[in-house]
Structure formats: C-alpha cells, structure tokens
C-alpha cells in the first residue's frame, strides 16, 4: 500500500541550496565580465600577467560582480515576479529569503574588497567596489525604473571589469584602460536592447521603462543599429591611440561587420526575428574582441 507524508515539507538538499546561492550571482553574466577583466590584464601586461595576480583578480572580480547581482535579486524581487523570465529566480520563488540574499551579496562584496585590496592592490579593490555601487545604486535603484536611458548610463557598471584588470596589473589607469572600458560601455546598449526586444512584454508588465517597452520595436531596432555603429567605431580607437596595430584593426572590423549586418537586418526587417541572433553574436563579439586585444594581433 502506498503511503504519503502529509504536512511535511520536502527535505531541502544542501546542493540545491548552494545552487540557488550560486544562481544569485548570475554566473553566466559574470563569466563574460571576467573575460573582459582577463583580456585587460593580458593587454596591460603586454603578455602573460603574474599567475597569482591573475587568479586573485578574477576571484575578486567574481565576488564583486556576484555580490552586486545578489543584491540586485533582493532589490528587484518585486518586478522579477512580474516577468516570465525571472519568476523562477531564487528570491522570487521563495527558495532564498530576501534578507539572506541581501546579506549574501553584501558579504561577497566585502570579501571582494578585502581579497583584492590585500592580495592585488587597493585601486583594483576600489574599482571593483565602484562597479558594485554603480550597478546597485546607479543602475538598479536609480535609473532602471526611471528612464529609457537606463541601460546606456547604467552600462558603465558592466564596463568596470576591464579597469579592474588593468589596475590589478599596473596599479594605475591609463588611456588604454579607459578605451577598453569604452568598448564594453558602448557595446552594452545594442547587446541589451536586442534581448529587451524579445522581452518587451515582460518589461511592460513590470513597468520597467526599457527602450522597447516605451518607444516600441521600430525605434529600438534603429537605436540598436546606431549604437552598433558607434561601438564598432570605438573598437578601433586602440589603434588610433597606438595601443594596437593593423592586425587588431582588421580583426575589429571583421568582427564588427557581421554585428552591423545583423543589426541592419534587424532594423530593416519586420518583426524581431533577428533580435536573438544579434544578442547571441554580441556575446561572441565581445569575447573575441578581447581575445584579439589580449594576443596583440
């Protein structure tokens, strides 16, 4: 005879709790950020950076970005529950208490500052904390719910990791470091708006003024094309400054051309069928561009 336990909460497996806390850090998002950190370190070192500095910088970078993301889960739990993409997130789904997510994020942020400050340098630590504050304070709390320019200005938070990498290697920030920052900064709008096009109704339901939710598909598609052109132009500035050569110029243009072509196709065609390809390619584009800078083609 089959028996069934009634009124007994299912046992929570430790690994699933750990997995939920890991999810709070948004590992896939952070991994791309770390590609830009690593790329900047290779460029700054003009070769291989010190292995320990490299390791601790990436570890500290993960903690800072992961902490910011966990705090974001806490702050956005009200709107995450209104969007189909985010209803399964640990806080919204009730698997992690909001206060614990906040404490976890703060703990990771603090650990990042201490780790980077003591094992790398305090400039890198300060920059990582600036990135956290930009993401939580400027993007999540201030801009995200108040303006269609949220992702443009707030994108600065995601552009900080190359500065952290550069500072970790050199102990200072140079023009080249800021050019790497700029590449990520100007890459963010077309990258994010391509995804936001797909999630337009989600953002409308949550009342978040993402560009497609406020200005519609056509205007967003045109903005994606325009910002893609700007981004490709910015990607060649390291050659203008003398920090990279003609080989990199060729690679930057070769990588940028499909991006522009896809954005133009998205702009020209009816519907948003090309939004996903633009988003997916933008990820590959940024990673490969930083690899090209790293190897000094």
């Amino acid at each position: 005879m089959a028996t069934r336990a009634v009124g007994v909460a299912p046992a929570v497996r430790p690994w699933s709790v750990a997995a939920d806390y890991a999810r709070l850090t948004k590992p896939r998002v952070v991994s791309l950020l770390l590609v830009t950190t690593a790329g900047a370190m290779f460029v700054a070192a003009a070769g291989l950076p010190d292995a320990w500095v490299f390791f601790w910088t990436l570890a500290g970078g993960y903690l800072a970005a992961g902490g910011a993301n966990a705090i974001n889960h806490y702050i956005d739990r009200d709107i995450d529950g209104l969007m189909s993409r985010t209803t399964g997130r640990p806080v919204v789904a009730g698997r992690v208490a909001p206060a614990r997510a906040l404490a976890f994020g703060a703990l990771l942020g603090g650990a990042s500052a201490i780790l980077l400050g003591t094992l790398v340098n305090w400039l890198a630590a300060g920059l990582a904390m600036a990135g956290l504050v930009l993401y939580v304070g400027v993007y999540t709390l201030w801009l995200k719910r108040s303006t269609t320019h949220n992702i443009v200005i707030g994108g600065a938070a995601g552009a900080v990791p190359p500065l952290v990498g550069w500072a970790a290697v050199t102990g200072e920030l140079s023009l080249t470091a800021w050019l790497l920052f700029a590449i990520v900064f100007y890459w963010t709008p077309p990258h994010f708006w391509a995804l936001a096009l797909v999630l337009r109704t989600d953002y409308q339901a949550a009342g978040v003024p993402m560009l497609p939710a406020v200005r519609g598909e056509a205007a967003t598609k045109r903005q994606i094309l325009l910002w893609t052109l700007v981004m490709v132009g910015v990607s060649v500035l390291p050659v203008v400054s003398g920090a990279a050569g003609l080989g990199y110029l060729a690679v930057a243009l070769a990588l940028g051309a499909p991006f522009v072509a896809m954005a133009a196709r998205l702009d020209r065609d009816a519907g948003i069928a090309w939004a996903r390809p633009v988003f997916s390619y933008s990820l590959i584009y940024l990673a490969l561009l930083f690899v090209a800078l790293s190897v000094g083609v």
Binding site: V43, A44, A46, T147, T148, H149, V152, I153, T170, E172, L173, S174, L175, T176, W178, L179, A182, F185, Y186, V214, R215, A219, R222, Q223, L226, W227, L229, V230, V232, G233, V234, V236, L237, P238, V239, V240, S241, G242, A243, A244, G245, L246, G247, Y248, L249, L253, G296
Partner: protein, 81 residues
Amino acid sequence: MLAGHEPRVVPGAVGVSARALALALALALIVPAAVAIAASARRLARAGAGGSAAARRLDLLYAAAPLALLAALIALAWTAA
C-alpha cells in the same frame, strides 16, 4: 585618473598613417550614428515624452553624456601617441 600614456605599441604597426586610417574609420562610423542618436533624443524630448520638463532635461542629459564621452575619447586617443 588618466595615468600617463603608455600605449602598448605593437611592433611596426602603428605609424601615423595607420593611426590616421583608424581615426578616419572611427569617425566615419561614429559621427553619423552619433548625430542620429542625438537627433532622436532631441525629437523625443520635443515630443514631450518623459514626463515633466525637468525629467525631459534629465533625459537629454543622459543622452548627451555618452556622446560627450565619445568626443573626449576620440580626442584623447588621437593625441595619445
């Protein structure tokens, strides 16, 4: 915090002509797009979107900031080497 100019020079690849070529390419890509972005932001502000006058001014500022940063970066990049 622009600490000096220490471009990592790729051997034999960054003569003035190469840098000028890259600058021309960058400007050809950036300037028309930036002008269109600015015009779009202005149109939106004139149309009255974005709530109060103060909110519209703030939105214009948000639109202008990345474009101003672009101009500064291009100038710095060209004068770097």
